[in-house]
């Protein structure tokens, strides 16, 4: 059994079920209580579970993440919502210096089972610093796990896994996809393992690697290119950004021999570079063309009047496919 849900609704349902399932679960953040979250991802939960489990905190990201570390140390399972990814910076030290390192420093004696959810990415006409895609900061931090779903089904299954994970997980929710489409989501509490990518479309000519909101652009471009030129692209949704699913990445490139990476994060030191390195290490002799990246530019995400020119578009992705296949 299931229901047609948006990604937001799937996320809300996952949290609702976790709150009902385990007393240790609590949600904390700014505006997540009475207001139900600025995107309404916690809507109804405050009324259902009360102010002691769905907590409107003071506006202080370090305080939120730091106190959640303490709560997690002492047996709770906090879900922290940071209102936008770029607002996490005041809490960055808590993440990298403490959440990520506590298990290591204590040789496994104390863990921090903390889940941090945050909307991220451009394409929602947000004000300054509401559209960043800085997953690299976290994917460069040993001890953290980074997850980015691209659809409602995965969002629910990954969120439940992330909350049950004994280590801190940063859960990046592509804001643009919150209400973009609906999909059947099972009623039960199912889990999608962290660390596993998914081949969302089979193909033989080229592999597109993408995640989050860019997965839609990748699929659309693949569809168009197939209609126009008959080329069949395989599309891989990474789903977990750290640690990466090397096996799925490598299997696909061995099949197609060509790759295009699409991400909206800045190009330099973006995860695309890491994927290229993995392919070089594991499958260089299978390559028929250099691997190309279609990414956000190395500029701050610009004002929304021109943000579409920052983001990879279907046309840019198509162009990348053509260049790679015509090499």
């Amino acid at each position: 059994m299931g229901k047609n849900l948006t990604m937001l609704q799937a996320i809300t349902e996952a949290m609702d079920q976790m709150l009902g399932h385990d007393d240790r679960v609590m949600i904390m953040g700014e505006d997540i209580g009475v207001n139900g979250g600025v995107f309404r991802s916690t809507e109804g939960l405050y009324e259902k579970y009360g102010k002691d489990r769905v907590i409107d905190t003071p506006l202080a990201e370090s305080g939120i993440i730091g106190s959640a570390i303490g709560l997690a140390l002492n047996g709770m399972l906090p879900i922290v919502e940071i209102q936008f990814l770029a607002f996490i910076y005041p809490g960055f030290e808590q993440l990298v210096s403490h959440a990520a390192r506590m298990r290591y420093r204590t040789r496994g004696q104390f863990g921090v089972p903390l889940l941090i959810r945050t909307p991220y990415g451009a394409g929602i006409r947000g004000p300054e610093l509401h559209s960043e895609s800085v997953e690299t900061f976290f994917a460069h931090t040993p001890g953290l796990k980074v997850v980015a779903p691209s659809n409602p089904y995965d969002a629910k299954g990954l969120l439940i896994s992330a909350l049950e994970d004994p280590d801190p997980v940063i859960f990046l929710e592509p804001t643009k996809l919150y209400r973009a489409f609906k999909e059947e989501v099972p009623d039960e509490m199912y889990r999608i393992p962290i660390g596993q990518a998914k081949v969302v479309q089979e193909g033989s000519d080229l592999t597109i690697y993408a995640w989050g909101a860019m997965l839609r652009e990748a699929l659309n471009a693949a569809k168009k290119i197939e209609a126009e030129k008959g080329w069949k692209c395989e599309v891989v949704d990474l789903r977990t950004l750290y640690p990466l699913d090397r096996d799925t990445i490598v299997q696909s490139i061995k099949k197609t021999g060509r790759a295009l990476i699409v991400h909206e994060a800045h190009k330099t030191a973006g995860l695309g570079a890491e994927i290229i390195s993995i392919i070089n290490d594991e499958a260089l002799i299978y390559l028929k063309a250099p691997i190309k990246r279609v990414t956000g530019f190395d500029v701050p995400v610009p004002p929304f009047t021109i943000e579409d020119h920052y983001l990879p578009t279907v046309d840019r992705v198509k162009q990348g496919i053509v260049e790679t296949l015509s090499f």
Binding site: G66, S67, L73, T106, G195
Partner: protein, 362 residues
Amino acid sequence: MKAYSNEVEPEIFRVLTPDGEIIETIDGKIDKSLMLKMYESMLLLRTFDRKSVNLQRQGRIGTYAPFEGQEASQVGSALALSAGDWMFPTYRDHGAAIIHGQELYRVFLYWMAHFDGSICPEGKRILPPSVPIATQMVHAVGTAWASKIRGEKNVSIAYFGDGATSEGDFHEALNFAGVYKTPTIFFCQNNGYAISVPFEKQSASKTISQRAAAYDIHGVRVDGNDIFAVWLTVKQAVERALNGEGPTLIEAITFRYGAHTTADNPNIYRDQDEISTFWRENRDPITRLRKYLNKEGHWNEEQEELALKKFNELIDAHLQKAEGYPKSDPLEMFNHVYAEESWHLKEQKQELNQILRKGGKK
């Protein structure tokens, strides 16, 4: 010198004067056996601290952060806790950690840069020393909050110095603790200097304890070299916390005689002879309690000698244990990054292992 004279000091809670006189009632709360425990604990820690500085000079441990002069603050606060209470020390609070149950050899291991130096005995809740400043204060809010949610009768204590009170996390921690009335004790050892920067350059507010008012929590300023005053203050903070009256900010006025760490030269930023001598001669936490105990007939020279001998032997035994402890295996760097090791760590571990084997030693 005026910053350290009694005349200009704002109000401060003091029980035992530097001359060893009791000037406040202790209501029978501190009996003879507790007094002796306090005294012996301070003596043990001073011996440990001096030994550690020497060990660093001999190259047997790494950079070390001495706390000599701050024994009353660390011992007095730690002795006021119960076994199940959470403790968040900094790199200068291993004295408090030892009194709360951390083993001496582990502290040596920590300063020898051994992985196992941050493990506390099973069942204890002593977190590794926080190296970033003030960050651990919010953790102490979180653990206390969890205790409160579950109705467990534990408090959490966060140690920090005067420099930490300039950090954002100091304010965020006090604010969260005030809002959620968490059973947290914020224990500041104001030793006058954040490495080289004196308190008057750190803060325009005259005291740290007065900041409590801004968060509507309880604030106390106490003579940090008076172990009776420290113990009574922390004990009262524990009682308040367990009664649901929320957090307490304690400012203990004290002084570190030595350097910030063994890598630091305090002669550059303060007049060592003048200030250290002033504190040693007029305020020392151990001397003043000894004066009192001697007058009361609870302690004498012979006991002092015996105790020092006992502590030296104990410390040496722990040092031996630490020096004989198996060295960290380089491959251990890959353990405990995550609860479960992922592919990239497994492979990198293998890579290092092969390098080590080729080199013929591990």
